[in-house]
């Protein structure tokens, strides 16, 4: 059932997952560090290993637009992007969600201009927070492969029908060759049913998609989309359970590492959690009561699971790899908001770091945690700290 362990670049693993999903239409526009994914797919199509329409569009705006068209007639559609490409797509992302078109997209997270920077952080996807897509983070190549396959099943589920982003850290994951396990075609076919849109564009059953709403209907439209996104969590959890039963790799909305019976929890998103794990191991060996929690499911935001995971700790240190200029860092502000309703709230400190590909090594994580704890001790946790700024 499960193929042997192989070494492969994570981007190509995502391409392999898309091939196994037997995608119908791929829209492709180059942008670093995403390009290896669509190059991999182009090669598969060119060699006859994947029967799909490959549209080499003239922009990311058109990439997402053509995915909408394909998805609206009932074809399975995929694209990938990063950084400015995701920003250019923004307008279309909103429509994908509101038309309930389950496009799947890999985002190899990258910094935003300016200055221009091609390396990894989460600035691109954090700005896409409110567009109505399901958003999931992968922390390594295996997870990128697994989550891409799961994404099609989640997005296209008849109770969901929402577009889905799989976030993969640019370079730190996308360009790394890792050992991983693929699934065989038969297993994937059993796991992933064919895509069917209940209201696809069809001359025999004409529908109008994308009418405009006056003030008397707009609120209801947004409410129904919000409800659909919130309720998608059930299907996400079911899908991860089923995938775990097949592969032995179980995923959770909030992942915990050595997070029980600790005073302090570090919260991360994406690949840096693996560096943080090394720091946590070392600190625990030294007798420090520090654990790690990472956010896998970003939208819909898993309030319940988050509160369960972190409310027992006294100190929470949240690392954001994105800066909200002039405001609170995005992940931390969500976490603070989620905790606010609790009677006994932990102290929360917000740290921004790892911007534009800046490494945070395990040793740095030890410093980062110490910095956070100092801040909590000082009693002033209102402002976000920038970690590792060269003065």
């Amino acid at each position: 059932m499960i193929a042997k362990r192989i070494g492969i670049e994570s981007s190509l693993a995502v391409a392999e997952a898309v091939r196994l999903a037997n995608v119908d239409v791929i829209a492709a526009y180059p942008i670093t560090p995403q390009t290896h994914i669509v190059e991999g797919l182009a090669e598969m199509v060119a060699n006859g290993h994947l029967d799909a329409e490959y549209i080499p569009v003239e922009s990311e705006h058109s990439a997402m637009s053509s995915c909408l068209g394909a998805s609206a007639v009932g074809a399975r559609a995929f694209t990938a992007t990063a950084s400015q490409g995701l920003i250019l797509m923004h307008e279309v992302l909103l429509v994908a969600a509101s038309l309930r078109l389950p496009v799947v997209m890999a985002v190899t997270n990258r910094a935003l201009s300016g200055p221009l920077n091609i390396w990894g952080d989460h600035s691109d996807v954090m700005i896409a927070r409110d567009v109505g897509w399901i958003q999931i983070f992968a922390e390594n190549g295996q997870q990128a492969f697994d989550q891409t396959l799961c994404a099609f099943r989640i997005a296209e589920h008849q109770d969901v029908l929402l577009p889905t982003i799989i976030n993969i850290d640019g370079f730190h994951v996308s360009h790394v060759i890792e050992p991983m396990y693929f699934l065989d075609q038969k297993t994937v076919d059993e796991f992933l049913p064919p895509y069917r849109h209940p209201y696809a564009l069809d001359p025999d059953k004409p529908v109008t998609m994308g009418g405009f709403a006056m003030p008397n209907l707009y609120t209801e439209g947004r409410k129904s989309l919000d409800t659909a996104l919130r309720q998608s969590k059930k299907v996400i959890l079911d899908t991860w359970k089923q995938y775990g039963d097949i592969t032995g790799r179980y995923y959770k909305p909030i992942e915990k590492y050595q997070a029980e019976n600790v005073d302090t929890l570090l919260v991360t998103v994406g690949s840096y959690s693996e560096n943080a794990m090394d720091a946590i191991d070392k600190m625990q060996a030294e007798g420090k009561k520090v654990g790690l929690v990472s956010v896998r499911l970003w939208r819909p935001f898993p309030y319940k699971e988050l509160i369960e995971a972190i409310s027992g700790a006294a100190n929470i240190i949240v690392l954001d790899r994105a800066i909200s200029l002039g405001g609170p860092a995005p992940v931390c502000s969500e976490i603070r908001a989620a905790l606010y309703s609790l009677k006994d709230r932990p102290q929360v400190v917000s740290i921004v770091g790892g911007l534009g590909g800046r490494d945070i090594s395990p040793a740095d994580f030890e410093k980062l945690i110490a910095t956070g704890l100092d801040k909590i001790k000082s009693g002033d946790t209102a402002e976000t700290i920038m970690f590792g700024v060269r003065e």
Binding site: D24, S66, A70, V95, P203, P206, T208, M209, G211, M214
Partner: protein, 310 residues
Amino acid sequence: METLSIYAPKLITNREYIASGHRACSGCGEVLAMRYVCKALGRNTIISNATGCMEIISTPLPQTAWEVPWIHTLFENASAVASGIECGLKALKRKHGYTKEVKVVAMGGDGATADIGLQSLSGAMERGHDFIYVCYDNEAYMNTGIQRSSETPFGASTTTAPAGKASMGQHTWKKNMAAIAAAHEIQYVATSCSSYPFDIMTKVEKAIKIKGPSYIHILSVCPTGWRCPSNSTIKMGRLAVETGIFPMYEIENGKYTLNIDLPKLRPVEDYLKLQGRFRHLDKDNTAEIQEKVLEEYNKVKRLAAGNKAK
């Protein structure tokens, strides 16, 4: 003289695909043109519509005027959405037993076509998708209140290029979208006008037969924006053609055909003086427009004649 009980120059289907009851202004030439386009397209059509007048007037939720499958997403991407529809259907046919023969059509106004959507249209034509693009050109952003576009004619007063003491309104000449489409070396490009129903339908029927992209640019009279009476729509379109201001022609595999070649063009003044948007123009402005119109008309005529000579 012979007495005929029926005189029918051509039979047209009485089937409508854009239902009455839509919210278009009275005298709207654009919705008229769209109605003829849809009659010629028939039921086996999927339409990707850009944001604009035709989108707004036809789909106020929870109502729709559309009797063919129709999708609107954004202003500038109708061609990209159509690209995805066309490729989606191709994949469904090849992989999933889909058997319907469906024509994919993208539509938009002049802003959606010549301004904000030009990149998306160019990309789709260059990639060779099998689709028809129809531009309903009413020569300004009418939906948002008569702002100038690159298709607004020289001398017209609009809300963002108003005529005033220091300006005669639009000071640029109309962008030649047909030539831009033809530069993509697609098989079929045509211009038409909302006052010529048979011409529109014939051209759409030709475009349907093309495998690959085709482009039809329809001058669509807008009484609201042109500031002319709503019962003058048909006359105004005819005058645009009869003055040579808007020549109707086809470019088939690069070869020009002038569809209506009048022995003598009417003076442009006949057209300009009936519209409020040109009211401020003086004799010199009119003479300048007359000269440019003849120059452009003769250019098309020469291209068509050169084609005949071959």
